[in-house]
Symmetry: C2
Subunit: 498 residues, 2 copies
Amino acid sequence: MKTVSVLIRAALAAALLSCTSIARSAPADFADIEAQVTQQHDAGVKRLQEWIRLPSIAAEDIGFPEGPQHLISLLQSVGFQHAVMVETDGKPGVFATLDAGAAKTVGVYMMYDVKQFDPEEWSSPPLEAALLDKPGFGKIVMGRGAVNQKGPEMALLEALRAIQATGKKSPVNLVLVAEGEEEIGSPHIGQIVNRPEVQAALMETVGVFMPSAGQSPDGVVSVRLGAKGVIEVQLTADGELWGRGPGKNVHSSLKAMIDSPVWRLVRALDTLVSEDGNTITIDDYPQPRPISESEQAMMAEAAKRMDEAQFKKLFSTPHWIDDLDFEQALERLISQPTVNIEGLVGGYTGPGGKTVLPHSAEAKLDLRLVPGQTADGALAALVKHLDNHGFGDIDVNMSGGYDPTSSPADAVVIQAQMAVLRDAGIDPIIWPRSAGSYPGYVFTGAPLNLGAAHFGLGHGSGAHAPDEYFVIESTNPNIEGWDGAVMSYVRYLYELGK
Amino acid sequence: MKTVSVLIRAALAAALLSCTSIARSAPADFADIEAQVTQQHDAGVKRLQEWIRLPSIAAEDIGFPEGPQHLISLLQSVGFQHAVMVETDGKPGVFATLDAGAAKTVGVYMMYDVKQFDPEEWSSPPLEAALLDKPGFGKIVMGRGAVNQKGPEMALLEALRAIQATGKKSPVNLVLVAEGEEEIGSPHIGQIVNRPEVQAALMETVGVFMPSAGQSPDGVVSVRLGAKGVIEVQLTADGELWGRGPGKNVHSSLKAMIDSPVWRLVRALDTLVSEDGNTITIDDYPQPRPISESEQAMMAEAAKRMDEAQFKKLFSTPHWIDDLDFEQALERLISQPTVNIEGLVGGYTGPGGKTVLPHSAEAKLDLRLVPGQTADGALAALVKHLDNHGFGDIDVNMSGGYDPTSSPADAVVIQAQMAVLRDAGIDPIIWPRSAGSYPGYVFTGAPLNLGAAHFGLGHGSGAHAPDEYFVIESTNPNIEGWDGAVMSYVRYLYELGK
């Protein structure tokens, strides 16, 4: 969800609301906390930099168990009395609780892992976490994980630290779960959340939120009531699995007498979608429920407030699918499932050509899911479809994924953020769901049935891309810097505690 | 042609003829040359090793102009009075002549370039040219270019060196052309061969041959009367070229509103061949002429003499296309054009998945051509087909290729090798053409209309693959070692001089 949220927010340019700084406009009873936030600014930024310098990347098996260990020590330092590593079949999670003796308990979802990166694509080394000037934004920290998700997460921890430093107790108790596999599709999040002691603790919460840099460059905040689900699958056609074609790469001249697993993959792929690639043609694929009137109304409002031209420029995209107008395109964005090819790889992939008949080829797909669909259902339909069409030998490896997630607009974690944003003079755009995905289903689905949301002021961009950043000292009057982001969590926690 | 020749030869296991060593059975008048070949053995092998250690790779722009310079000095050292570099729009060629005052002049085609390699895949460093023991074969030299084509080429040069060292003159005059782009499809071979002075010199020849390691492990030699043509093309679907879809990689969630160039490529590819990938469905594609009765007879004979099971094992292929029997499969191999996917690459290609909607994807194809087809005709049909089907924006880059080539069985360069093989007690298998390709069309086509062939005893394998080798000292009674390979060229040159 992070990337697309950031991208979409970056395109919000219509509602140029003058955003009063939260830090500056804090009421009298936040004055001491605000002073403390200012006082601990440098140390907090340094803690963020140190965290960025310790990447955990599940896909590359880097930074385990140092990543969860570091998070645990951070949590302990801001008042979590209980913070432990939770083993899974994959990378460990973290479970922590902060008992403030408060009336209400709030859930927090975090990720301590970050996306893979290629240092050569960055203008500043991705693990240096350098403080740089970015024209139009001010001083930023640049590094992998800066916005996705260590910056916002550290801002929340600094809020707790500031409250504690002023001699106060957190206005809410906290139950925190963190995972180290968010970037590979959260394959074991259930093994963390469904542990009896974790589930029991979460049962006591009024809902769950994930810290997030919520502001687009114009200061506008989008509030999303849910997110699409997703499955990531790798389809591999292989001579050995097929029992035809070569079992190893052979000279391409042999194509005249030997079948090609690559052509087989192309053919199989072409049965999955319509000729234009936009309509799913998988047999008996779970159907999405139709877009509702209220969802249409939200997208009509969003289309009015967003700058389509800027959006198209941001994505280097001159036309939406079927030349839809912006409102229709946004409706499609939030309501339609997709079958996307993330990548193709097989045979010779270097410059020019090489005369081989490859023994295998792989297509990496992601399938986004909307209400009415489940990860299990989508995978089962895909497998059955391939089988029906005579491609039962094609290996389908689901590397991660989960169901869509939705929360009602009146969920406590949503309503509290609306109140904080209103107080800050921000009129958010409400989205029925993000087109991206995050594993909120573990909270919003049975048995917990909690509300779940993202929250946080501040701005950053570049998730999953080079030059990822988070704004530390803002020269843009519309967006908060580090202290404003920290204060947004202070206010949110107090609002949740009401 | 080299790779498939080597592969096919390696599978020839039927005709277990006892191959009398040429070196041993040389008639009296070759005795002094044979003694000289023995005497210069170590120095010749060392010269081969030195050449292997100097790779020229056009695809990677490595080894120019050192490669042609080195070849020129080698040619000068064995008696070529004239040896010069020939500039082209790509890598330079070499043109050389050896005037021995003989009645007949013979053309020689060489390549000084080698295929790309990945050192990690090799059991011995590919540029070390180490002398190693290979069970069942004896002492080999392992390195990139060992068999494709430096080993056989150096054996020819050592034959000339030995003749010269015994005070004799070469029995034929030689006109030699070498190129440095064979491994990228010989895009500029015409710029070498069609130069007035080169063409004029070649006009004087009785035909052209390329040195080649002609023996399979059982000693059998295949004589090919031609080779398929080929074009190598890279098809790229790209958002910017298309004017739809993203102009850069964007988050995959945007697939719901943005078109995918990768799906476009998949769809376009799927129009090129039948569902099973084996029949070309490109609109108005040039049709091959039907297989002739004499070609069928040759393949019937070849099928009888070859071991199908060994062939299948070599290619890890349990079934031929359409479950054809071996004879039918071989008929298809020599007579049918192909459209092969060498490789697919686009978007994220690392381990697992990454949620991007790629802005482009590329398919690398090679299209083998048979008599009745030309490189230009095949390319034009492909481009027109894509245009007809609405894929005119897909970029078609032809990186190399040429027409098929054929020589009559009674061509001088063919008949001379039949005589040498007969003298050595070898009953070759005759193929109408190789299923692989080499740019023989520049010699066999207008205006030269020469016969062209490959010749040479000795054995090696692994062209285009790791652990490429050429046998230096044979412990296999069926195959010649280095001295036997050198002597095969001595005999061939004398036969051509008759």
